[in-house]
Symmetry: C2
């Protein structure tokens, strides 16, 4: 019962679906964040659910760990095979299986990326709303309960996955949920697997909720004299019921990064980027009302536009933020942080974090999905510099403490993986032990993504 | 280790919180639906989470079943103590603990009813959106994953519970979720307990999402020549992205019940009742656009109004529908059905069901939350008439089969309880066994609401 006998049997049964080449192992041994390289023993490229189930059964027999892999863009080391074994790379399972325009849903394989899915949907007038910064796979996004800039209006992966096909640790293939828009039929297994980071089962198919492309869109950006004014403007906009499709905060440091990478002429001040979706009258009315709220909070002027090209430029800059930030410190490794607090505490949380970073030796531009109370400081660390790494870890730990003290969560959308494991007990108390009970019930051998989310035995 | 030693100890420790009076047992032995009376052995009225935890520990020691109770309005016999033991009645835990207007959330005890919660919220300009027909308790609504007329816009209990306090089967008290609007921190335990029907733990506190009262509301009603036209009108409205706050279907038989109970002057034809929430311009524009879609589908005329009194009358009639229907057959017992299908199959599902009921010996008016694809035929059965009971059970079984054949679910919002247990295997296959694995992990003694949702051993 070893990983190597598992690999031999996988190779025998699945042939060249298993790779043990050094380049494949290296490609699947690193992440986009600061975690050290960890090579798996093999990489599997299944073509079908059956192959996944076969592989899982073989691995279960031999006690070989299995870690799922989309395109490797997760930020907390989720897809690193820290206990060795097999990485299951879903890149060959990337089909859009069935589009149901009338029901506004789509069935996809886990390996399709969000941008390719939206390309395939374009002609239908529908779109899939969840948009993390990276062009992640839908399977990976479900596994980490990802969200992005549109969650304030359209929700996170929790709200946009209707049904799943999952291969369990013993090789059983189950279906959760249905194509109905709601159900009270038993435990919400779909919700349980979304965000379970591959520790309870491997997602092999997803049915997603789609949204109609809005008739009209207005978008704009405006500066504020300080963080507090910007955040207060967000709170008031939400309370007035102005329906925001997106509302993003970027701090002055972040603007500096944008200027360096894309040459924008924005002032080096805190900004809000916003978008409204609806009828032509509605988006004009909403932009105008928002402009008034901005002015009341000493921001602005708020320039908005309904022109697609200006909008695309704005959001492209926002989505590429993580990459732009590296311009602030070329060659740096990145530690993403991701706290989410009740909106009423957001200004305080951002201000405390800003002061804490200013007093540290490293840069950490801040941006956030402020409509949800979620923000990121991207800590930039010189590779190999232990003092900077320690400073970053300390800053991140203080952010986590801050989030919990304010009634929030240590991760709004990135997930736990390796990076946030140390905060689980503080956030959940005995709830974490209940998660452990569930893990042991569904994966008694502890082979699915061991060491992530739940501490392995 | 018997129920009676448990009751003795409960009485010793919790004093008059435990009742064994005949009237109390009788009050907690019946439901609003067709299930036979089942008396519990005792009724507990806890004042606090600690008392719940103490009681659960005592029950665990003695092997005594525990079944939660809100106000007993569930429709599938969820709260009946079919294995005897203790019913935990949450009526003394009915406080609104804390309103956070700025964060648009509220912390409540499980025994508060939805209408009383909204009364307490009135001055804040916020409201809690989920509105099942009955004035259920929030704890009961969470346990059954309830929804109602506004789910099409504001979601179900799944979408409106942010955090929970839960007493586990071993007496541990855990907290799930947080006041943050989203989180990726581990398994979604909140989502797991919502809809778990008291089989995994007892909910002792809830943090709910609130919504701003809309600046303006428009509402109206219109007739259609047939079911298909009404449903097609719904589908087109959704696809056009006209933001509906409510869209309810009622069939001609249902209108007849309304006429008998409230003297409305509606025609005996299928109708849609709709409501729009937003700015004054928006709700007027949306009502006008909806009127055009209605006309295209041979419905109407669509009369709408922004007057609160007309609106209140409309929705009062709708919410009291279950009671009105009894006027069609005085003294009848009621079997609620509750299927939910993809919208594209909705007309077909309603039409097949209508024909099936017409060919049966019993009446079954149909109404539904058609924006979600969810509808109910309320089957009216003469008490003690075995042939009618059999006809109703057969009709309900065929509805369930129809829902599954069309890719839907056997229950959109009522839950499984006793009434839908026989369909769990057909709906979930091996997924049901995974639910059983979770149940056994979290309630190894099988004492929490035994026999519901999961078949007890």
């Amino acid at each position: 019962m070893t990983i190597h006998t598992a690999l031999d049997e996988l190779s025998e049964v699945l042939g060249d679906r298993l790779s043990r080449s050094e380049s494949d192992l290296a490609l699947h041994g690193r992440s986009e964040a600061h975690f050290p390289e960890t090579l798996p023993d093999g990489v599997l490229y299944p073509d079908s659910t059956e192959q996944v189930a076969t592989a899982v059964r073989i691995c279960a027999t031999h006690g070989c760990p299995i870690t799922g892999w989309g395109v490797g863009t997760s930020l907390e080391g989720h897809a690193l095979a820290t206990k060795g074994g097999v990485v299951m790379d879903f890149s060959r399972m990337d089909k859009v299986v069935e589009i149901n325009a009338e029901d506004m849903d789509v069935r996809v394989q886990p390996g399709v990326t969000r941008s390719r899915l939206n390309e395939e949907l374009r002609a239908t007038g529908l779109f899939f709303s969840v948009d993390p910064g990276a062009d992640a796979t839908i399977g990976g996004m479900a596994a980490t309960r990802a969200s992005g800039t549109t969650a304030v209006r359209y929700g996170t992966m929790r709200d946009n996955v209707r049904a799943l096909e999952v291969v369990m640790a013993d090789g059983r293939v189950i279906r959760t949920g249905s194509r109905a828009r709601k159900s009270s039929a038993g435990y919400d297994l779909t919700g349980l697997f979304v965000g379970s980071e591959g520790t309870l089962g491997l997602i092999t198919e997803l049915t997603l909720r789609l949204w109609g492309q809005p008739e009209a869109v207005s978008a704009g950006v405006c500066a504020f004299p300080d963080i507090g004014s910007a955040v207060d403007c967000v709170i008031e906009t939400i309370q007035l019921g102005i329906p925001l499709a997106r509302i993003e905060f970027i701090d002055a440091e972040c603007v500096r990064a944008f200027k360096m990478s894309s040459g924008t002429d924005m002032e080096e001040k805190p900004h809000l980027m916003v978008e409204f979706h609806g009828s032509e009258t509605a988006v004009a009315e909403e932009a105008a009302r928002f402009g008034e709220v901005v002015a009341e909070h000493r921001g602005g002027p708020f320039h908005w536009s309904a022109k697609p090209e200006e909008r695309t430029k704005l959001w492209k800059m926002r989505h590429e933020a993580a990459y732009s930030m590296r311009a602030l410190k070329p060659g740096a490794v990145m530690m993403a942080t991701d706290i989410c607090v009740p909106i009423s505490r957001l200004a305080e949380a951002v201000e405390e974090t800003t002061a804490d970073i200013a007093a540290s030796p490293i840069p950490g531009p801040i941006l956030g999905h402020v409509g949800d109370g979620n923000f990121h400081a991207t800590l930039l660390i010189e590779p190999g510099n232990a003092a900077e790494m320690k400073a970053a870890k300390d800053l991140a730990a203080r952010m986590a403490d801050r989030a919990l003290r304010m009634g929030g969560t240590v991760t709004g959308e990135h997930g736990i993986g390796l990076g946030k494991l140390d905060y689980m007990e503080a956030e959940h108390g005995d709830g974490w032990s209940v998660m452990g009970d569930i893990k042991r019930a569904l994966d008694p051998g502890g082979l699915l993504n061991p060491g992530k989310l739940i501490r392995s035995n």
